[in-house]
Amino acid sequence: MKIAFTAKGPNWNSKIDPRFGRTEYLLVYDTSTEELKSIDNRDIENEAHGAGPKTAGLIYESEAEVIITGNGPGENAARALEKAGVKIYTGAEKMKIKEALEAFNNNQLKEYN
């Protein structure tokens, strides 16, 4: 399974980016290979509108089944993620990526719906 995170930086020690659409990085962890892949999303700053759907599109392309984030997506992005069958977990805004994964594994994050 692949788990995606909205992140402030490219590695396990980076903090969760509380924003969904305008997250600086997307990190994708593959539980079978234990690899963490980083997608630089900082160009999103230049998008006046539609950051949410755009980032949701990247998550779809990454084949992640779960996204762990902070505040949660807006309506547009949530619709896309729902159609893509991606589960959304929120409330990780104060954690580092490694802490967020642990919290997810311990069922401590809130499922967004």
Binding site: A56, G57, Y60, A80
Partner: protein
């Protein structure tokens, strides 16, 4: 004496950075004041909340529903090549592998996805966005458009309203465009075809701050503009100093006057009761006449 340029039609846009500085008061009074002398078209382009109509007593001549064009996805034709998503500059089309999501509120009706789709799977479809109304009393033609509740984009409706205004402008018409406030896309759409722009502001720090933004916008658009200083006497000298330093003409100052506010609040025109206001309108008319 009629106001015209070599094309016979002069378009004046009344804009401001800050809201509530007196755009509508100026637009409606200027239109009514000059309507004794020549053909006037007044268009309220603040389509999110048009209010010029509160001050102009005229009969309804025409009403039409306005549509914008949005791509509608046809599943059976789609091969999910993703070109639509790639060419969309507004993130309004998302390829989700087994389905294409279209976000009408993000779509700018540019037709790129629709025209470039190799399968013709995104034909453009009409979507209602608002209503245009055309009123007339023989002297003033008043045109206003209003976005439907829930519609987010003012620009397509402003653009279509301006097309309607152009179609109904006769020779020697003076067109007065009551623009939305601010400096974003709707303002640019409302002012970009105008011959001259009046920037209405008030002599306060807020008025000055937003005037600077409006000036920057008009300079980028390469527009001829002047400032009308409303509610003169309140606040401070910041706007005057800024205009002087930057060689910006203040063509009229309208004194702060409780009577003006009272008349406005009752939906009444001001110029008939206020000689100071009339003088300001005369100066503005002179400016519009200049080449």
């Amino acid at each position: 004496m009629t106001i015209k340029n070599q094309y016979g039609i002069v378009k004046i846009a009344i804009a401001s950075g800050k809201g509530g500085t007196g755009k509508t008061t100026l637009a409606t009074n200027l239109a009514a004041y000059l309507s004794g002398k020549q053909k006037i078209i007044l268009a309220d382009l603040d389509v999110e909340e048009p209010n010029s109509g509160l001050f102009i007593r005229v009969e309804r001549k025409h009403e039409e529903i306005m549509y914008k064009m949005i791509p509608g996805w046809e599943e059976d034709k789609c091969t999910f090549c993703g070109l639509c998503q790639e060419v969309c500059n507004f993130n309004a089309v998302l390829n989700m592998g087994k389905l294409i999501l279209v976000y009408p509120e993000l779509c700018h009706s540019c037709y790129a996805c629709s025209e470039l789709c190799p399968e013709g799977a995104l034909p453009m479809k009409k979507q209602r966005m608002g209503v245009l109304k055309h009123f007339s009393n023989g002297k003033i033609n008043f045109i206003e458009s209003k976005l439907d509740i829930g519609q987010e984009q003012a620009v397509p409706l402003i653009a279509q309203t301006l097309d309607y205004v152009d179609k109904h402008s006769e020779n020697e018409s003076l067109v007065i465009l009551d623009s939305p406030p601010g400096t974003s896309c709707p303002v640019i759409e409302a002012t970009k075809e105008a011959d001259k722009i009046l920037l209405v502001t008030e002599p306060t720090p807020f008025g000055l701050h937003d005037l600077k933004l409006a000036v920057e916008t008009m300079e980028k658009l390469d527009k001829e503009f002047v400032v009308v200083l409303n509610r003169y006497g309140v606040g401070n000298a910041g706007v005057e100093e800024y205009c002087k330093e930057n060689d910006i003409r203040i063509i009229a100052m309208i004194p702060d006057d409780r009577q003006v506010a009272e008349l406005y609040a009752r939906g009444k025109l001001v110029y008939k009761k206020s000689s100071a206001f009339r003088e300001a309108l005369d100066r503005i008319a002179e400016y519009i006449l200049e080449n």
